[in-house]
Symmetry: C2
Subunit: 456 residues, 2 copies
């Protein structure tokens, strides 16, 4: 292993190889230039190339074949397409919450290696120092804040800053449109309560975030699993069929960087989806939690950006990007805005002004975009690392997503693997992962699991 | 007006007079000792007695009669007993929320004199400096906290400290029994969702906290108004009749320092109520928000203290006593504990660890009991002041409660006064108050309003 001085150099060489593979210059099975050749070509020492190749080997990008050299490894196959009947209505079971409780318990046990939590931990991923400084300044400059009852609509500064950023997602909201919530989860929950009544059918991506399924169950609603492609997101054809047949009363979807698949819908699909929703006048709850963690290109516009008559409720939070502990999220309610404002006030009143103002101040002066760029780069790198390790160590036949952002992978193991057994076996080894069946109201995906590649 | 040096002396004299009135030594209409006589008797200057008498006059406790001296004023009559049919079931209207919105808006307008908000503002009422110091220390000693996702059940230290204090209210809960919530409001809301289903009838005190009524409406439940005495609280006879006739599916009550009446149920009534609830197996949600602000004597035990089989869900918060902005409350769910734990996690996950730990640390070392004693004394004093001013300036026939704690008075004006008109007239004068009709699902109490005597 080279010393610190050489660190950036050998990583540069390694990244150059990765870039060549991405561009297709080097393909699966191709032989890499010899160490000596590469060193001469790139004008670096042999040791540097060796370190780079070992790093690529560790990441599962290349493999050494004895007496022969280094070769580009076969890439991980994409996960299977979801095949299912068109309208599998189901009343999800709350018992799966037992399993979720075990996942949560393991996550909090410091003895466990946690690859289940969809949230990074640590200073590298959050601007904790800057936020601390702002919070501390606020405590000093406005000493009465702790003793002042926080009433809706809450911090104007934060709502203004949020509104200012909405064009990045194709929306143009004003501070008055923003309802602050206790994380994205509360926003989703309030939205679901606002647009449904007992027994309604809610269309969900399959697989989808397990808490969405439990929320649907808790509210006495039915879930409708809708086929979702691991690259292009939900099947808009399937949505259209369901709308036409009046089989769904609401939709709750993650069009950008979906959890767990990491897929993002193409713009045309978003436009078509928005049009359908407005045509059939069926409300859609849009979870934009990971939108800002899209790895490359301009951020995709929200479906809400194409929402003519206010049928889309957009929900998101700063929990995954800025301050996990603050649990400050927000929603924009379209035609349900007034109802949601009241539901929020009646459910939990407001968010702590001290935390909201801290975020508002950070968004004003803290360099949020710079911070986001750093996060995206880091997660994109770690995603490749994780995929490499899976390609190297997981059994033949393993498939994995290539997420468009965020920090989770969806991994499908060979069909004979029982995900719940694997979960328990992993727990016994002090490893916490999230079993795939949690992501379907019908217990599909028994051989899959979600893996978080943000180190904790 | 005496200078600062004499301040405590003249207040001592004034308080001595108030004490004599309380004990009945001096009664309404009695003449006070002459200034000269009092000064000699108490060994203070004539100026001090004059200042004391003027203060008592300002507070409406005594009145000067020309050429004759000072007399104890007639005391404010108690508010009227609630007379109503036994089971007035009603689906409360959400339109009253428009009025509540106007109250909230006025509360936030700095141009307004706010006598409507049931929450004090300012450093004198909250240990903001100590809390700031603790928070700041936590930010420094645990820099990763902001970036760490807060999972249920949340801060162990806070839950331990809460549990440690529960014997003061006759309970003996452990840290595991405590579910942290986003203020008392979320606790009440979750409890209501946990124990009811669409169309259920919920028994409420009459009058009761307006948000309880709106919450019942929002969840599609019916309200049953139960007569409540302004001194002894809810009529347990009426509750028993309703239980016997299966007219209520749940109760949501404030046995201690009820909002808005300020009444507290005697211990025997609490025991009887707990017994009835257990006998009829009907869940009761106990709002203990103001329990710790009881003016005198040992704190009354919660109804939960007598709850044999876990039918009582106890809910409270630190919002009114310690840190208004933090919005950290808690609940203990009895037989509904597991359901509530999940409902909380699915509704808004958890509370910010940084705020929970700050409270936990304050409860450990900050002198919470000392702080509470100060609050109680101050509020008791201000209550007498407010009653005095009402006795002096409000129209003949005005009645007001003599609350057992907290910081609100319930004021009944002569029957011909229209409370909503008064509310709007007051708004026009930049005064915000809370109209009485908000406190009844049937729009009773049109001539009453709630007045907060905590200065803001």
């Amino acid at each position: 292993m080279p010393d610190n001085h050489d660190l950036s150099l050998y990583l540069q060489v390694a990244d150059g190889v990765v870039e060549s593979i991405r561009r297709g210059v080097l393909q699966a099975g191709d032989r890499l230039p010899s160490v000596r050749h590469a060193a001469r070509n790139r004008n670096v020492s042999i040791n540097t190339v060796l370190a780079a190749y070992r790093n690529l080997e560790d990441r599962g990008v290349i493999e050494a074949r004895p007496q022969s050299g280094y070769y580009v490894r076969a890439r991980l196959p994409e996960v299977n397409k979801v095949v299912m009947p068109v309208t599998p209505v189901s009343s999800p079971k709350l018992e799966v919450l037992d399993l979720i409780d075990m996942v949560f318990a393991a996550q909090q046990n410091p003895k466990f290696t946690d690859i289940s939590l969809a949230c990074p931990v640590g200073e590298e991923f959050y601007p904790a120092k800057k936020l601390s400084r702002i919070l501390n300044q606020l405590l000093r400059s406005r000493p009465n804040m702790i003793g002042t009852y926080s009433l809706p609509p809450g911090s104007l500064r934060l709502r203004q800053q949020i509104a200012r950023r909405t064009p990045l997602l194709g929306m143009s909201l004003s501070a008055d449109d923003i309802i602050l919530t206790h994380g994205c989860l509360e926003a989703l929950q309030l939205a679901l309560r606002a647009v449904t009544k007992l027994g309604d059918c809610v269309g969900l991506e399959s697989p989808t975030y397990f808490y969405m399924i439990s929320m649907v169950a808790m509210l006495g609603l039915n879930a409708v699993e809708i086929p979702t492609d691991s690259q292009h997101g939900i099947s808009v054809d399937a949505v259209e069929a369901l709308l036409k047949e009046k089989k769904i009363d609401a939709l709750m979807l993650m069009p950008s960087v979906q959890n767990p698949l990491g897929c993002s819908m193409p713009i045309e699909s978003r436009q078509r989806l928005a049009k359908l929703i407005n045509q059939y006048q069926v409300p859609m709850i849009e979870d934009g939690l990971y939108s800002e963690l899209q790895f490359s290109g301009d951020l995709l516009p929200a479906v809400k950006a194409f929402d003519k008559d206010g049928w889309v409720i957009f929900c998101t939070s700063f929990t995954k990007t800025l301050a996990a502990d603050f649990r400050i999220g927000w929603m924009s309610g379209g035609r349900y805005a007034e109802k949601l404002r009241r539901l929020k006030a009646l459910s939990s009143m407001s968010e702590p002004t001290i935390l909201a103002e801290t975020l508002g101040q950070f968004l004003t002066t803290g360099g949020y975009d710079h911070h986001l760029r750093g996060l995206r780069k880091r997660y994109a790198f770690q995603m490749q690392e994780a995929r490499g390790l899976i390609a190297r160590y997981f059994p033949q036949g393993t498939r994995a997503t290539q997420p468009s952002g965020g920090f989770v992978l969806w991994v499908e193991l060979p069909l004979n693997v029982d995900g719940v057994k694997l979960f328990h076996a992993a727990l016994a080894e002090h490893i916490s992962l999230t079993p795939g069946m949690l992501f379907s109201p019908n217990g599909r995906y028994a051989n899959a699991f979600r893996l978080s590649y943000c180190p904790t």
